[in-house]
Symmetry: C2
Subunit: 135 residues, 2 copies
């Protein structure tokens, strides 16, 4: 299971950035569409894509295409030690205040009666798709 070539630095460099930590926190256990990240962070889209690519290279997220949309979800890194540490990191993220605020904001965007224009047709995160009002 453990992969010899996976380096500790690769993991820690990926985790040593606030934006990337916030992205991981927003994913939680769900798949999330890129456009939601852009809305929650109120930032430009290339910035999000760049950080997601970084996380993917470190084996911390995986991507799935659905038509025009890309869904990202947290993945398990190939090294056993890295996987254990990453689990602890995600537990930590769940308890951090700023991270909680981000997730609340994501929830509001998904369930808003009049979602922002950019999200009109965007597929919602899996856990919010069922009960959220469709446009």
């Amino acid at each position: 299971m453990a992969m010899k070539t996976y380096s500790m630095e690769l993991l820690f460099k990926a985790l040593a950035d606030r934006t990337r930590l916030r992205l991981l926190s927003l994913m939680g256990e769900d798949e999330v569409c890129v456009c939601y990240f852009v809305e929650v962070f109120k930032t430009n889209q290339p910035k999000i894509s760049r950080h997601l690519a970084y996380l993917r290279r470190a084996g911390l997220v995986a991507a799935r295409r659905e038509g025009k949309w890309m869904h990202y979800r947290v993945a398990t890194p190939p090294d056993a030690h890295a996987a254990r540490i990453f689990m602890e990191v995600r537990a930590w993220l769940r308890e951090e205040r700023e991270m909680q605020r981000d997730r609340e904001r994501l929830q509001q965007l998904c369930c808003a009666p009049r979602p922002p224009v950019q999200l009109k047709r965007a597929p919602r995160p899996a856990s919010l798709a069922a009960d959220a009002p469709r446009v």
Copy 2:
């Protein structure tokens, strides 16, 4: 026990450097004198001091002065999550090949019948002090 202001980035930035990981690995459970790091890595002394200062700012090591010598040891970061993660990191370090080689090299330097000039009078790491031959 958990300290609110301790940031995740502080921890991961400290861990995202090979030299700092090697330093942590060399300490293991002991106090180690700065001069040993310099010898094991065969590098200049300011480089070691800078990285040790970085680790100290991140709460990952503590220092103790003994006359002219400074001894560094691994410390427990003030945040509970950080402490758990740091424990896993140290377990990982114990299994990494390059890190093992560093520790073997430290052991050789301590127990050598004719230690390098720079270490003639240096205090040895605690676990090696008892059985190692004195000069």
